[in-house]
Amino acid sequence: MSVLREQLAGLWAYRWQIWVDVTKDLLSDSRETAGRFFWVVAMPLVPLGVYLFLAKLRVFAAHDAMEGVVYVVVGATLWLLFTSLFLAPLNAIRSKGKTARQSRYPLAAVVASAVGGAWIEFLVRLVLCGVVLGFTQWPSPLGVVLFLAAVIPLSFVFLGAGMIVGVFAVASKDLAKLTPIAIQYLFFLSNVLFAIPADRIPQWLIWANPFAFAIDTSRWVLMFGVFPDLAGFLAMVVAGVLLMWKGLHFLGLAEPRLASHL
């Protein structure tokens, strides 16, 4: 427990430094452009814009309970958040771990700044979701209230698992290469753009995929204000808290060992 306490105390002590990192990552790419802040907002919307365009063309199968555009835009927004959170530790440790260790900046802070960036991009995309919903299908008022309350604990699953994978990926370069590839394939099994018909793929394959469960649950909560599978949701929240605890603890334990391999 002391490792975990140290990790949390470190994150609190480095909160300003984490913010500096988050803003630097957001602003540095658009620094020398004419429309600086425009690009900060526009870049996260680019993938969402592509899915929105395809949804308007009715490329994907319609969903019974909600507009196709809503299904795709909300699904893609959630997918981008959850996968960003899952990959954030892996990418952050690989790209910034060495510099951080040289200045004894904690790896947990490096991960936290990457997570901060992922959440800011999510909030930007959420604004576009709001615009799309406003013009197509209004969400349930209770759903709007419950949405973040569902998304935040569900995101713990992906962040916690991402930290564990991110640490092991330092020792296994194959794991570091395979993880993003696996994520790309999971995209088609996660009910992001279309609900996969039960007769095509066994449904357990969909429901064993935490991305599919988290995206479907969050989207349903937003649109209708109810949890389609409350027991499943609660189980996933418990799993998320445990994975977060284990991931943070493992990162703290492994950090000194990783130093010479970064």
Partner: protein
Amino acid sequence: MSTPLISAIGMGKRFSRGFKRQHRDLAQELWGLFWRGRAGAPAEPEDDGETFWALQNLRFDVRRGEVLGVIGHNGAGKTTLLRILNGEMTPDAGEVRIHGQRSSLIDLAGGFSMTMTGRENIYYRGAHLGFSRAFLREKEQEIIDFAELGEFIDSPVKDYSSGMLMRLGFAVTVFAEPDVLLMDEILAVGDFLFQQKCLNQINKLKQRAAVVLVSHGMSTITQFADRVLLLDRGVPVFLGKPVEAIEAYYRLEESKQKLGSRLSRLSGREPEHVLAEPAAFDAFEWPDFGTLPGQEPLPARVMFEAPAARHGQGLTEEEALPVELRAVVGNFIHNKDAIDDVALLWLDERGEPLKKFRGADAATLQISFTLRRPTERLVIGVPLWNEQAVYVTAFGMQGRFDMGGLGAGRHSVRLKIPALCLNMGTYYPVVAFQELTEFIFRSPATPMHVTMSPAPLFWGLVTLDYHWERGVSAPVVEAAEIKW
């Protein structure tokens, strides 16, 4: 006595050869950490030939206000030690205890965001070093003033020269006012005046911090260190006063060379990367040769055969000099149609081959060479650099000695130096032969390891013969040429 700020207790570091083994070991450790909360034991025995100890059984303390110098040959483990103290690596045996805030002057230009301005980078890099926003606000102007960046502070650092970047990095790092300071060489940052500022700042930090300084510069070590740790292939072989440690370093080097030459004689081959082999001099036999008037013939032993003449035996010109010196020393030349078999021998006052260079002693350099054709006018020069690539002096013939025209054949000449005047350190002579305006030979000679300065207390590179007077014999200056 104050509590040590740095303690190494039986510390060791093991490395694996080959990345597969490294990754397998790490994976095992991580697996153990993940499931049991402690690192997994290595699966194979440690003496399987795939692993080696880069550092072994290090024990030392460094207290506030103390500077520990670390010396040793390449591969001795100096950088590994510094990386462990900096928290970049963990020891595999024993432990290291660091009390207080650490700061390192190791990679000054690293850790900057190239698209940000210098001012923004003060905050960005400062944040990574753990400084608070309030502290950086307070120190911002001091850092800018110290780095002498002026209006460029608001330009992106990608437009900075490497010197500007180093100055900014140095300024941000030293203003941390750390308890523990780790340095890899005293940094030559910027111009002379800026270097003086840096040295002043480091001297200020010395008063309040425990400092570990890794250096190849023996003069730097004697100037800064209170105690010196000598490492050899990861093993501590000496810890004590700087002068004694440096002597031990040179003794170690000498014994390695003797061993190398013995091995070479046994195997009949030249050992690789061994430049000076005092014990191997007996191996060379030279025929009698003609001498200059008034000169005695060179003994039938050579101390050093210039590297350029040994190319066929595995020694390249690049290996003859430290990396820092290669650029400043200039091209190596050997016109074999004009000159060959250049041999040098340092002699002491009694005319015996010199065993050790001491700053106060006289020394004679005897140079023998074979001219392949008559020369109209030959001039010899011996410029001297130190280990920081500073051009110390040159012993030239121009204006001092005229050899006149020389016929083909073996010749010899002596350079007599009444007192070397050199302070402790390693000096790199280059022997150059010039015929009219053309160099016919130019090559580095054996490095001179000066193990004792002319005086117990010394500053700079040389100690000239001088004395101070007071009273009647030192009248008050009334009409000075220069007054401040």
